[in-house]
Amino acid sequence: MIAINPNTRPARLFVMAAFLLTSATTAGASTPLAGCHPVSLEKGETLDLTTYRGHLLYLDFWASWCPPCRQSFPFMNSLHKQLTADGLAILAVSLDENPTDARAFLEQVPAGFPIAIDTSGKCPELFGVEGMPTSYLIGRDGSILYRHTGFKPSDAAELRERIVKTLDHPE
């Protein structure tokens, strides 16, 4: 083991780098949250996803042109109605390039939960989205607990069970 004299410049740089590296890795799991800034569709304000700390966040990426997304909305509506009181937060982020398309979709498929939009494609890139729709279960500490790609009606039961379990056993 080489003894490091902390008073030398390279040593100080080394310590600084090590500190940054470790804090980066512990914060690594929530880097997508930090770098993703969707815009609220209703209010137009840019959202900071780190404000969801302390809640269990169901983050869903959808688009107006995606047929399975249409089927996931009734499920998310029921989640919103039943589990908000228990600490579940829902945010559905549209990846439409045009907000008009997202709004037209919502006119046909109503949503009782918060809707945001990311037209830049940065959020799905950061989160590593591999299909449409994709939903993430994000823990109270901001870490990604679970990812679900695609949506079929039979997925609802399994997803709800997972959410309820996580709500009952806070980390």
Partner: protein
Amino acid sequence: MLSAALALPGMSATAAETSYRSEAPSLSYNRADYTESGERMEVKVDQLSASAPIGERLEARINLIRDVMSGASPVFNASRLMGTPFQFLQSGASIRDTREAIDASLGYYGDSHYVAVRGGRSSEDDYESNFASLDFRRYFNQKNTTLTASAAYDDDHLWNSAEGDGLLTGPADVEHRTKAELLLGVGQLLDKNSLIELDLTFSHSAGYLSDPYKKVYVASRDPLGLVPLLGSGLGGGSLGGIAPVELAGIRPGLLNLVGIYEDNRPDERDQWILLGRYSRYLEGTDSAVHLDYRLALDEWGADSHTLELKWNKGLGDGWIFSSGLRYYTQRSADFYRVSYTNLPGDRIMSSDYRLAGFGAVSGDLGLAKSLLDGHLTLRIDYQRYEHRKAWELTHSRGDKLDDFDTDLFSLTLESVF
């Protein structure tokens, strides 16, 4: 069908297949009217299609079609005294035929693949066809790349059902033919606005590939008349060297003297088809262009090229306008002749205009309106098709007496529940 179509919908794409399944049942009705110039043919078509999702991943589809044809059809070509071709048409109310077809399919939508099995039957007064096909698709690279493999098989029986002693009659034996097709294709997304596709098809037809109604005219120029002019089934006679007179109104008895033979094609046919497709969305215009090129190489020598351009444009408020332009050119089959001046040794002969060299240009116009939040769609389409010997890209056999024009009007009602 009197002018027997050798192609059947065993492998036609009947729906714009996308990678997801429709989650609601649908019902479509189509009515179309088709007329050919020069009092040739008129066809009225009724189609009914239904589809429904089953469970989580299955989809069932059924199609019913009925078309009623009336009018005239070319039987054979003859030549006047100076050698100019002359076409004889059998016309009259006796030519009315109804075709009815049904086909059903079951598709399975997997996460990264799709499989479908399809089968059906088509029957007419003088023709019966049974067909089945299997389609398989596999997606790669988050559906950037798609591989397709399809196989289809058609099994047909056909016979001559014309009665009396007119020119259309022939032996009423039931003939049999089969066709096997194999398709391999690859589709690729190029960027967020465009995609390409390449498909290669091999087809092998075997059996009775001739037309049981069509005839060929053989007039020998040999003044000594030593060429035997025995027509099968129509009696014999060897008065060769006699220039024909106009044939309208001549009874079969006299025709034997100048040699009317039956359409007789080889009993095997291999074809290779290469199809290239390109589609591009034009940003900011709510429109897209589609370009197709199809090359067909045929064992009988009747190679063809098809070039098709389509442009679809959204007009807002649920209106979509579609337009298309198509150019088709084919070379005549090696054994095809407008009319024959001698009898080929192997007796392989045909004067069917569908084996002649020609070019065809067609234009499409369509308008669709979406109503009731997309639950109902009304479509109206029109196609004008013009067949001209002069528009052939290559230089092969054929005659402008086979030129014709057609008009097709179509109305469709699609409902999604």
